[in-house]
Amino acid sequence: MRAKVYVTLKPGVHDPAGKAVVGGLNHLGFDEVKGVRIGKFFEIELDEGPDAEARLKAMCEKLLANTVIERYRVEIA
């Protein structure tokens, strides 16, 4: 089976790289862009199992996200 994991910065956490992307987009004429937050996206292939979702969450808690600054969302395809 395949799962998608999105890891994004919590609100309020400084994202200077996201800010630089806003500047770049504005520079290209996309003046409507007011904010960008950069996150991470994981495609995970794993064996099917009854507790796959719980185990994916455990993966996020333990390694894929640092919950001090990041939140995560799991989608199972």
Binding site: V13, H14, P16, A17, A20, L63, L64, N66, V68, I69
Partner: protein, 220 residues
């Protein structure tokens, strides 16, 4: 008897030799420990050195934190043993939850390699002393912006867990100019600047010696 200080080498560590040199220079025995070792052996303190463990993949320190040796480092820290994390070692300590907060990318997105002045404050630890003299030592990092949520920040400040603060502003954007923190118990310390690089006048300075002198004194 010589006090033994473990210096852990992860794949990508590059300040481990400097850390061992600084330990030996202050009359202690530096014990090299490989990240795949499952035990620290019989040691009196542990240093996690600077570098780029596992290429900083995913997040700095995130993968090193699960190296086999880290289980024993956590056990040692929880038993009250002195543990110092420098630069990448600090990032590993944060990822392991042994010290509060996290290190974000520098606010100006630039690798910073320069001398900084630090004020030593907070509680006494095995590596620092409240009211110690200000020291000037180098930083060399891309992710040194210390950050914690408001509750954690209030607790860290209130409990004297800020042990190093940049004087004249943090070049990396660190919250409240925080350069180094300790855990609630005070035995685990992490800092971004490199005391081990300034222990000999011939390479730029000796201000880093106070950290190792303090450890030698505490262990004696």
């Amino acid at each position: 008897m010589n006090r033994r200080v473990a210096v852990v080498t992860f794949p990508g560590s590059n300040c481990d030799a400097d850390a061992r040199h600084a330990v030996a220079l202050h009359g202690m025995e530096a014990v090299p420990v490989w990240h795949k070792d499952t035990s620290l052996g019989n040691v009196d303190a542990v240093i996690l050195p600077g570098g780029f463990s596992y290429g900083d993949y995913l997040r700095c320190g995130a993968i090193a934190r699960f190296s086999p040796v880290m289980q024993d480092v956590v056990r040692f820290a929880e038993a009250g043993g002195p543990v110092l994390g420098i630069c990448n070692g600090f990032q590993v300590l944060c990822e392991a939850g042994l010290v509060p907060g996290v290190l974000l990318r520098n606010s100006k997105l630039k690798f910073l390699c320069q001398d900084v002045t630090l004020h030593m404050e907070g509680r006494d630890t095995p590596f620092t002393r409240n009211g110690g003299v200000d020291i000037r030592i180098p930083i060399a990092h891309m992710e040194g912006h210390w950050y914690a949520d408001d509750d954690t920040l209030a607790r860290v400040e209130g409990e004297g867990q800020v042990v190093f603060r940049y004087v004249g502003g943090a070049p990396n954007g660190a919250t409240r100019d925080i350069a180094g923190v300790c855990n609630a118990r005070g035995n685990v310390v992490g800092l971004m600047p490199h005391p081990e690089r300034y222990v000999e006048a011939s390479v730029g300075g000796i201000d880093g010696k106070v950290v190792f002198e303090r450890l030698a004194e505490v262990l004696s």
